[in-house]
């Protein structure tokens, strides 16, 4: 009874026959198919059957309206007062706000963390604007390298090489002369630049990293390792980071649900 199904293995795809029926094949493809139909009974019959089906569907009688769907003023007023209908759509703004709040708190705690970590040594504000940080990096970059190399010569670097240093701190591009490709530290630099530098310069890496949260967190976390007073801050950062990610995920899903019917 289902012999016609075997036609699927035919070089002409059923989807092409179907599209041909709807006049939706590109001209070249259409010519090829017409050529093939002349010599292939199976495809011709399949096309006929598809046509019969499509015609029958097209002939399904239209139903008259059971009533008019025009909106009454009451319905229209209700619409304007109405909240978005689905739960997801209702939750979307809440989760969006929660995600934003979590991110703000995360940044605040990272900032506080860095500030506390640097102790009173520096009066320079920690949450430097990116532009300012870049500027200072650019002006101090070569000096830093010189200082760094000097430090390395004195053997200070070895001490630091023994202790694992987070890659963000080690390969920080700011310590390299600017034309140097990022992430490939000079041999002399593999020891951290931090020891040989003034406090202000030492703070530059985390400050610069702030615009991209993960490195900031990482750098801050690594620097905290010596500073156990701030464990609770680190925990807060972890929780806030997790919360922010969760809220973002939910807000994204809810937003997709609520926009599904609406934007075009």
């Amino acid at each position: 009874m289902f012999d016609w199904l075997k036609a699927h293995r035919h070089p002409v795809k059923e989807a092409d026959l179907s599209a041909y029926l709807d006049g939706e094949l590109p001209p070249e493809r259409r010519r090829q198919l017409e050529e093939h139909l002349r010599s292939c009974d199976g495809c011709s019959r399949q096309l006929d059957a598809l046509r019969t089906l499509a015609t029958a569907l097209r002939e399904m009688p239209e139903s008259p309206l059971p009533r008019s769907f025009t909106l009454t003023p009451e319905q229209a007023r209700g619409v304007h007062k109405a909240k978005p209908s689905s739960t997801a759509a209702r939750l979307y703004p809440a989760f969006r706000t929660a995600a934003a709040a979590a991110i703000v708190l995360l940044f605040a705690s990272v900032g506080a963390d860095i500030f506390l970590q640097s102790g009173g040594e520096s009066t320079e504000p920690q949450a430097v604007m990116l532009g300012a940080a870049r500027e200072s990096a650019a002006t101090s970059g070569e000096g830093n390298v010189a200082a760094d190399q000097a430090a390395a010569e004195k053997g200070v670097a070895e001490d630091y090489e023994a202790a694992p240093i987070p890659s963000t701190a080690r390969s920080t591009p700011l310590m390299a002369p600017l034309p140097q490709p990022l992430g490939t530290p000079l041999p002399g630099e593999s020891g951290t630049p931090l020891p040989g530098l003034a406090a202000g310069a030492a703070e530059t890496p985390p400050a610069v990293a702030i615009p991209t949260p993960p490195p900031a967190e990482e750098a801050a976390t690594s620097e905290q390792e010596e500073d156990e007073d701030h464990d609770w801050l680190r925990a807060a950062e972890g929780v806030l980071g997790g919360l922010a990610l969760g809220f973002i995920a939910v807000a994204f899903f809810a937003g997709w649900r609520s926009r599904r019917t609406q934007d075009m």
């Binding site: 075997k6 019959r45 002939e59 399904m60 009688p61 059971p66 769907f69 025009t70 909106l71 003023p73």
Partner: protein, 220 residues
């Protein structure tokens, strides 16, 4: 009476602009122009007149609510997309609280879907009505995405391009959904071929018998 579209694209633009400003009369003119199409789409998607009525009403409410978010030119596609989504929601709702099974056989589809049609003889109408019932029950057994594509193409007569815009998928996806939907629908109808009106059965059955009498083509 309502505006007769599409002899007035410009008029539709005007009505849309006024609707966006909250002019209910303008929006209702659009409703009147499209409600037949929307209701029949819902009826083919849902098979139940009550469900279709609910979905159509919900679609127009949703369209009114979101009219200021429509900035394109393809109003019909936008509206039908809202209607398809309203049907999906309606199906989900009815599955949660089943009243009438929407996926059952032809007998479960309430009443004659279509009242007597004045065109053609009574026999012709009876035949079309009978065929329509079988097609409808077959449609209800298609996956929702294939059902929507087949209905928009064969019942609503839209182009692949328009369907792609309506369903927010690529033209290639539309093509394959329609093809798979038709193939499956045909298979479903063949399962009960003896119940089909003769004319239609003949068209499919003859192919079957010819094909089995002509093995080379099927075994090639």
């Amino acid at each position: 009476m309502g505006v007769r579209l599409p002899d007035g694209i410009a008029e539709e633009e005007t009505l849309l602009a006024r609707s966006r400003e909250g002019d209910l009369a303008a929006f209702n003119a659009l409703v009147e122009a499209y409600q037949g199409r929307v209701y029949n789409l819902c009826l083919r998607m849902l098979a139940s007149p009550e469900a279709a009525e609910d979905a159509a009403q919900e679609a127009f409410l949703s369209a009114y609510r979101n009219i200021d978010r429509f900035r394109g030119t393809a109003f019909r596609s936008w509206l039908l997309r809202i209607a398809v989504n309203a049907c999906t929601d309606e199906l989900r709702r009815r599955h949660r609280r089943p009243q009438v099974s929407l996926e059952a056989g032809p007998a479960a589809i309430d009443g004659p879907l279509e009242p007597p049609d004045t065109s053609g003889s009574p026999e012709e109408w009876a035949l079309r009505s009978e065929m329509s019932r079988h097609l409808q029950s077959g449609l209800m057994r298609l996956p929702l995405d294939q059902r929507a594509a087949v209905v928009l193409c064969d019942v609503q007569g839209m182009t692949y391009e328009e369907i792609a815009t309506t369903l927010v998928v690529s033209v290639g996806t539309v093509k394959s959904r329609i093809s798979r939907g038709r193939a499956r629908l045909r298979r479903l109808l063949l399962e009960n071929a003896e119940l089909l009106p003769q004319r239609f059965r003949h068209n499919i059955d003859s192919e079957d018998s010819e094909e089995s009498a002509d093995p080379p083509s099927s075994e090639a």
